[in-house]
């Protein structure tokens, strides 16, 4: 019964917030906090946090290209396709404008072939993005690279629909 009431509270809260997508996202995230959070002050806090974040942080604004973080590749390739270059350029500009900001470029591969070769391939994918950023003028000390090879797949099925999501370099800012 208590659960039902809580669900009803959450549902009405969701409905109330449905007018803007960012608020709805905050409300969904709220589900993981303890039941008491469903009381009146909690949504207000969440709302405030979201609007504040949007105001100061272009890295997480879904309307900003900087919120895009992944470069995708063909099988056994570390060539950065043209479609990802504007996004990498935007991150390069941001890093140049924010000398204290640091990124880790995380290289990943799909599950096919050998784990060790994939570890090396993931490294080369991360390095290819680093090289592009370096050419654009980002100091090397702001960029770290790491490879997870095929060990941390984002999608776990065994066909191309998952593999294409896992052939990827992620741009992760320090502190994220």
């Amino acid at each position: 019964m208590k659960k039902l009431m809580l669900s009803a509270l959450l549902l009405s809260f969701l409905a109330a917030c449905a007018s803007t997508p960012t608020k709805e996202k905050a409300a969904v995230e709220d589900k993981s906090v303890p039941a008491t959070a469903a009381e009146a002050p909690a949504p207000a806090q969440a709302q405030a946090a979201v609007s504040q974040e949007v105001a100061v942080n272009p890295l997480t604004d879904p309307n900003n290209i900087l919120s895009k973080r992944s470069v995708y590749y063909d099988f056994d390739s570390s060539a950065v396709k043209d479609e990802y270059k504007p996004m990498i350029e935007a991150h390069a500009k941001y890093l140049i404008a924010h000398p204290d900001a640091k990124v880790t470029l995380q290289g990943n591969t799909d599950e096919r072939g050998s784990r060790e070769y994939n570890l090396a391939l993931g490294q080369r994918r991360a390095d290819s993005v680093k090289q592009f950023m370096t050419v654009l003028g980002v100091p090397g000390k702001q960029i770290e690279t790491v490879s997870f090879g095929e060990e941390k797949p984002k999608a776990t099925c065994h066909d191309e629909s998952c593999w294409k999501q896992n052939r990827r370099t992620d741009i992760v800012y320090q502190g994220e």
């Binding site: 056994d76 072939g113 050998s114 060790e116 070769y117 570890l119 080369r124 997870f148 090879g149 065994h158």
Partner: protein
């Protein structure tokens, strides 16, 4: 001996059904960490009759059941039915050879298990040649009851060695990584999958286990600090230390045949390149200097060569270079993806993963002739590892959406799957022959 015969005479009628029951227990998942399914078999198998040993029934584990399973798994033997022979022989004097010749057996194994007053077991076995009516081997072992399985493997090794001329690998161990939910466990088990022990467990991935040539240590790669770092761990003490934790990735450890050094892969100077390092972590030296990925080093058994994977020619292919450094020579030319070289114990061939139109398969190539043979037909095969007698290749494959281990004979004739009850199994490495073999 007479006492044993009379004892056997009394229980004889019950022996066969109880023995079959023993086999059923042997195959049940509750008793096995891994169970094994065999497909195919060698063209010419040696027909052998293994008579249940006298005194075997009171033991919790069927000794001859383990011997049966070992020999059958090799694909090189055909078990001859022993049911209906009365009385079953347990020593050479009891054997009526024409009976066994009539059943088509070329070889016969008889033996006994006797409980000693101190609780230990006295095991005697003899391997007999049915055609010449002579003894090929005879051994006795005095063991603690906990060593029953290990002793069965030793007996199977003796039989295998005597009848094929090749050392058996039933007493060896294998290492592999199991992913259970979000946990990664590096495990070591007997070659038949029993007796699995977890060596190290982590919430982060573990890959590339490599046995030291003396079988006392494992090198492996763990991501527990957030990136690939190489560790060496003692199996006896569980103690471990970092072998390589340089800037960037540290991976692909491969022991030199004398166990003093390892070839490893580092990205500390940029690209993934081959380095040598002493087993104590000193004496780092760069081995390869290529503008490409160089990885997966593997030493030839004579220590002269290091085979490795490189995409310096535009696609990943297998090369070899002198272990002292120098020019590399390309070994694979067929197809656009050949990786994970693993030398055969005689150094004359290597196993690897070959990509064809139908997926990633295990293949072997003769070094002198360059002739390649694809051994498997499953689409996602990885990590081939030769048995220390060179007769089988252990590898990782996928079945029903999860990783399993499988083994294939070097001629491709016999395949077996090693199932674990749950989890994803990968990264198998077959350990060396034990010292007392």
């Amino acid at each position: 001996m007479n006492m044993k015969n009379s004892f056997f005479g009394r229980i004889g009628p019950y022996l066969v059904p109880l023995f079959l029951l023993g086999l059923a227990l042997l195959a049940s998942p509750a008793r096995a960490a891994l169970t094994i399914e065999i497909t195919g078999g060698a063209a010419s198998q040696i027909p052998i009759a293994i008579v249940p040993f006298a005194g075997e029934i009171p033991q919790p584990q069927s000794l001859t059941g383990v011997v049966d399973a070992d020999l059958q798994r090799s694909g090189q033997f055909r078990l001859v039915d022993t049911s209906g022979v009365t009385p079953l022989p347990h020593s050479p004097g009891d054997v009526i050879y024409p009976d066994w010749k009539g059943r088509g057996a070329d070889a016969l194994v008889v033996g006994s298990i006797a409980q000693l007053p101190d609780g230990r077991l006295d095991i005697k076995f003899r391997l007999l040649d049915v055609l010449t009516q002579s003894q090929l081997a005879g051994f006795s072992y005095t063991i603690a009851p906990t060593q029953l399985r290990a002793t069965a493997h030793k007996i199977a090794d003796v039989i295998y060695q005597k009848l094929t001329g090749i050392p058996g690998v039933f007493s060896t161990r294998i290492a592999y990584v199991v992913k259970q939910g979000k946990r990664f466990e590096l495990q070591v088990s007997d070659a038949d999958g029993y007796g699995a022990q977890t060596i190290v467990s982590s919430s982060q991935p573990i890959i590339s286990p490599a046995w030291s040539p003396d079988g006392t240590r494992l090198a492996y790669v763990s991501f527990e600090t957030g990136k690939a770092v190489i560790y060496i761990q003692s199996l006896a003490t569980g103690g471990r230390r970092v072998l390589a934790n340089f800037k960037g990735s540290n991976s692909a450890p491969a022991w030199s045949p004398d166990g003093t050094r390892l070839a490893i892969v580092l990205t500390r100077d940029g690209r993934s390149q081959l380095y040598l390092i002493n087993a104590d972590g000193t004496g780092l030296r760069r081995l390869s200097h290529s503008p490409a990925i160089d990885t997966e080093p593997n030493w030839s058994p004579d220590g002269k060569w290091i085979a490795f994977t490189s995409d310096r020619g535009g696609s990943p292919q297998i090369y070899r270079m002198p272990a002292t450094g120098g020019d590399a020579q390309r070994l694979t030319f067929e197809g656009s993806y050949n990786v994970s070289p693993n030398f055969s114990p005689d150094g004359q061939s290597f196993a690897f993963v070959h990509r064809s139109g139908s997926g990633f398969h295990v293949a072997v190539q003769d070094i002198a002739t360059g002739q390649m043979q694809v051994l498997t037909d499953t689409p996602l095969d990885e990590s081939p590892s030769f048995a220390p007698n060179g007769r089988m290749i252990l590898y990782a494959t996928e079945s029903g959406g999860r990783g399993i281990l499988a083994a294939v004979s070097v001629d491709g004739g016999t395949k077996q799957r090693l199932y674990v009850q749950s989890g994803d199994v990968r990264e198998p490495a077959w350990g060396p022959l034990s010292k007392n073999q």
